[in-house]
Symmetry: C2
Subunit: 493 residues, 2 copies
Amino acid sequence: MMVELKELTKRADNYSQWYNDLIVKADLAEQAAVRGCMVIKPYGYAIWEKMQHQLDSMFKETGVQNAYFPLLIPKSFLSREAEHVEGFAKECAVVTHYRLRSKEDKSGIEVDPTAKLDEELIIRPTSETIIWNTYKNWIHSWRDLPLMCNQWCNVMRWEMRTRPFLRTSEFLWQEGHTAHATKEEAEKEAQMMLHVYADFAENWMSMPVVQGVKSETERFAGALNTYTIEAMMQDGKALQSGTSHFLGQNFAKAFDVTYLNKENKPEYVWATSWGVSTRLIGALIMTHSDDNGLVLPPKLAPIQVVIIPISKGSDGLAKISEKAAPIIRQLRESGISVKYDDAENKRPGYKFADYEVKGVPVRLVLGARDIENGTIEVMRRDTLEKETRPIEGIADYVKSLLDEIQKNMFDKAKSFRDAHIYECDDYAEFKEKIKDGGFFLCHWDGTAETEAKIKEETQATIRCEPFGYEPTNGIDMVSGKPASKRVIIARSY
Amino acid sequence: MMVELKELTKRADNYSQWYNDLIVKADLAEQAAVRGCMVIKPYGYAIWEKMQHQLDSMFKETGVQNAYFPLLIPKSFLSREAEHVEGFAKECAVVTHYRLRSKEDKSGIEVDPTAKLDEELIIRPTSETIIWNTYKNWIHSWRDLPLMCNQWCNVMRWEMRTRPFLRTSEFLWQEGHTAHATKEEAEKEAQMMLHVYADFAENWMSMPVVQGVKSETERFAGALNTYTIEAMMQDGKALQSGTSHFLGQNFAKAFDVTYLNKENKPEYVWATSWGVSTRLIGALIMTHSDDNGLVLPPKLAPIQVVIIPISKGSDGLAKISEKAAPIIRQLRESGISVKYDDAENKRPGYKFADYEVKGVPVRLVLGARDIENGTIEVMRRDTLEKETRPIEGIADYVKSLLDEIQKNMFDKAKSFRDAHIYECDDYAEFKEKIKDGGFFLCHWDGTAETEAKIKEETQATIRCEPFGYEPTNGIDMVSGKPASKRVIIARSY
């Protein structure tokens, strides 16, 4: 599994190729034998585990419990909610048989035609239908509400064009599904979970996001409102990084889920669902990484600090290791993951490049001269700045440096993002500027026609109507009609 | 989701019905809409999370890393390893199409016949084939070895007769897959992981297990040796609770995975795989639970201590809550999960029964008289013993009580198990006694014929040849041939 440390494509030369190269070189994932699917390699999966761990505890703090629902959904379930079926019952993996048999000539195996299912089963593209079919049995009275479950699982959508992490046929995600007694409570839950996602994106991924509401066209199939966090990648494109849906009573009606209210009268339940996926790893890469490889925020880095000894001979190494031991111990006692790489079959230069491409936030180098001088070399991955510091107190210094890197990465990404948000009132100007990417705050007349025209002519879409943006009276730059709000328009992944 | 606290079937009346009832009443799982699949409810899933958490850290301590491989396996992969295909390419879910479409009369959706896959895809029943196809690209030289990956995922086997947790079409598990340079190292790894499983079973599940090796007939399809941990359920049947396989070079040869050794010569890699599943929850239930419901070992209980205040009116409750607060804080500071159930819409009697059926290890009850007397009532779930103790020092007492319960549950299960292990040298006696269950240590001549005869005539199977059991010369009780070893024979789940 040794990384090939050949030149990485430069972002400026070919951003898309840079992304694909980086995923391979940083050992994050690779294309699987099955079309559109990926293998998440240990280093990539370790990032996902850190994300999961943090998100899971944030969900649980809000009272959500984990559960597990079946992978396969009876075909008829998908038809129950009219809009949902339009959105999801298209490109999906269909199980039609439940047995294989040896070919008569023993040349291999084949599907046993006698083992055909009465009703085809669909590999879940999302689980609203099977979960609401289950909730029907769990919800009887107002005392059973709110019901708030989440599951961590795999889902499958038969995507035509795939890219690792960003869009794959199978992906890993979490999907939360909540049931509430009132519309207000469900709306509040959907928005609250969006804030949880934004909090995670900004404070753990160091990735600034715009929170807002999707246009009707861009809504989740079956939702009355879809809330989104949108992040800007380094090429100026938007990446939808998490969504939370207010589903109204659509699924409750489709699956006949009612509860007896305090007056003992049956009422339909109100619903939300919300999810983030391994796509977040793609977002992480494209927000921070550079031409030398991955740059990981310390809070999500599988290895936060690497220490590399430089010695000639095993005698020298023993002395350095002795000096390194208390540093390692102090850092680990503070919960920091440290790798001490004293492998003798790789040259220091190789190690430097490897940890750089893997985005390890802090690198410490200890050589024979350092031991003499009582110093140590510190490099921070985000700026690639090197300095030589006294070895005394280095653990405390590294701890504060990790915090500083976490913050600096956010600030840098936010400066970039803010420098590429434009208010724009002129469609000709928009069409020209959108070629270079960026988020455009434009007045929109609220019609699907205008939205479609923009998409057709510029490949840009309405990402969201951002929260907390003052409504201003203006003119839709495309239709010329009056418009009372600005929305964010951008090209996207 | 309120539990129906109707009478639970007694174990003595109908063990199988007791098991099914208990799963429903303790809110662990339920039958899903899809045949043979289950929904794991929040309380059941919380037990699985605790198991996962501990096992995962035990795996990682041995140097194993997590990764994720695709759900779907190309049909042809399954044929590559001759024995593996015989064992697994039978009852499995087959994906044949990748699209649905609306019916012409708009009455629903149907499979789009034009979207047929060139090669059918199988939902993984286990992942050796897809993982070894991937390892081919990861392994080049001896420096890449050992390669040790694990994945937590769902798998599917189209089982005809299913029972919650014990045998379901879809289940959750972990599967470890390791690659080694030498036969010795792979054998050692396979056995080491078995010991990890045994350690977990005994010290976390309080479930004594016999470690041993499977007969050839009972081996994993494609393995040269299958190691197993076998536990005895309360009805005297065996439950295979975890297996670890030495796969030799079978998969390396099937997928052409070689490495350059230190002499730069290509050699096939040696393999192991090992797994435990949600079946462990079934084992946990059937090892410890009683006619009042679940009995959970403290280390795996989602709620370790429940505190129930008994008061008349909210004024009394406030006084009790004030007294309970420091106890709760002290316990939580020690990492113990405490539920303080002051819900006023349920009677204490209902709460008592509910936490009893859910197997919460320790129940504390605080009433008005306790406050006056400075006492508290303590009940331990394993023995149902109640005592009144001074409230002073109760947190420390509860902590040691949890340890005591963990140990007592193991001792009790071990006494039961040991009392039902018999050396037996007479087939007539065996046939009579096996009806009441138990593990029978019998001489076996090592032939598949004898094994088949025993199975046919008694439904009992060879569970394993236990480790550490002195070989003794004897006579196979069935064939009368000489036999140098005793094996464990039992009926099983």
